[in-house]
């Protein structure tokens, strides 16, 4: 296999990484909202969030992508396939991240919140200065894990016609008759990307204040 082919794969992997990062970030924003709903005491907030999380965790991502890609035009919304892909990945990861965040917020020690109340912080300040940093510290490993899962799951957006790493390998395999080499190379690139993410996650974890030595 020539280096030219490998270079094409590397270029396509930029799409994989970009789509994954954008989806993780959008998913995180939705997840914060969802975890707030899940932890609220109002039933009309909890129930929709529960259904959302249950649906997006219970249906295969491929089916979610097919639904979004095929149904949006039916109800009159025409979006480019890249938007459909990002929406699908974001909603899916939001459901998983919401569960993680809910767990993180639920395990913020009560004493920490109480002492913040004692020194006179407002509920808003307690949320921003105490709850969010503590919960993030607790959910960071899960977030890194989720990033790796999304990087791998992004291979599925090839079905809605986006030429990311997997689709590029597939197209090149079709035209060069080198499927073994191309798919193995694509796998290697995924492996290296995920390894970098895991390494970076570990570094951030150790550099945060309060990290175990």
């Amino acid at each position: 296999m020539s280096f030219k082919l490998f270079e094409l794969l590397l270029q396509a992997s930029i799409y994989t990484v970009t789509i994954s990062i954008v989806s993780i970030l959008i998913g995180f924003a939705i997840a914060i909202l969802l975890s707030g709903m899940l932890l609220s005491l109002r039933r009309h907030l909890v129930l929709p969030a529960r259904i959302f999380v249950s649906f997006f965790r219970g249906v295969p991502l491929l089916v979610q992508l097919l639904l979004i890609y095929n149904l949006l035009p039916v109800i009159g919304i025409n979006v480019p396939s890249v938007v459909a892909a990002v929406v699908g990945l974001s909603l899916c990861t939001a459901a998983y991240q919401a569960e993680n965040l809910r767990g993180g917020f639920a395990s913020v020690p009560v004493g920490l919140v109480e002492s913040a109340e004692m020194v006179g912080l407002t509920p808003g300040q307690i949320f921003r200065r105490i709850k969010v940093p503590t919960a993030l510290r607790l959910t960071l490993p899960a977030l890194v894990n989720e990033a790796i899962l999304i990087l791998k799951a992004s291979s599925l957006v090839s079905v809605v016609g986006i030429v990311e790493l997997t689709r590029m390998a597939q197209d090149l395999a079709g035209s060069t008759f080198l499927p073994l080499q191309l798919f193995a190379s694509a796998g290697l690139i995924y492996l290296v990307i995920n390894w970098i993410v895991a390494l970076a996650g570990g570094l951030i974890e150790r550099s945060l204040p309060g990290a175990p030595r």
């Binding site: 090839s158 499927p179 073994l180």
Partner: protein, 222 residues
Amino acid sequence: MSFDINVLIDQWPAIASGAGVTIMIWVFGTIAAAALGFLLAVARQYGGLAVDKALGLIVAVLRGTPFLIQIFLVYYGGPFIGLSLDPLLAGLIGISIYGAAYFSEIFRSGFRAVPRGHIEAGECVGLTQGQIVRRILLPEMTMLVLPPSVNMAVILMKETAVLSIITVPELTATLSAIGSQQYAFVEALSALALFYWVLVEFTGRLGNLAETKLSRFRFFNA
């Protein structure tokens, strides 16, 4: 936007067959993955350092690459090393190997959680390694590996949808074909999502039930 359930009713034999294939791949794939994963874990535990390192590398590769890439390697790459498989068999093999990597990690953490003293006690009374695995390791770690195993079974259920890409005639392939042929995406894809949703929720509930039952069993035997 209209919803015409008759499109699905007319096609019920094809849909039933697709659902059957999905469940068949899931059940056999999960059993094979668990069995293979258990063997992997045992080999890493008792096979010495070299075996442990080599198998650890394979597990890391399987866990670090997308399932779709693995399936493409087996299905499209296989013929180039003289391994021509029909889609269904390629899918079954793919899902078993993919699942085995995760199951082996589940079993390994299960092994580690069994107190060292219990195994030493087994060795002292003269049990063989095989007997120690069957009589001490397995029963003691069942409670520990059950929740992550149910979780893994659910993940594999959802991964079966990916096999539609290599034209395995399972439910996702069947219903998306009906959707595009009859232009009935709404009906076909909603039915598809509902099928997986119900099955995944059902499996999760079943797992919780098994956990409760087993913990009671353990309590009375303690």
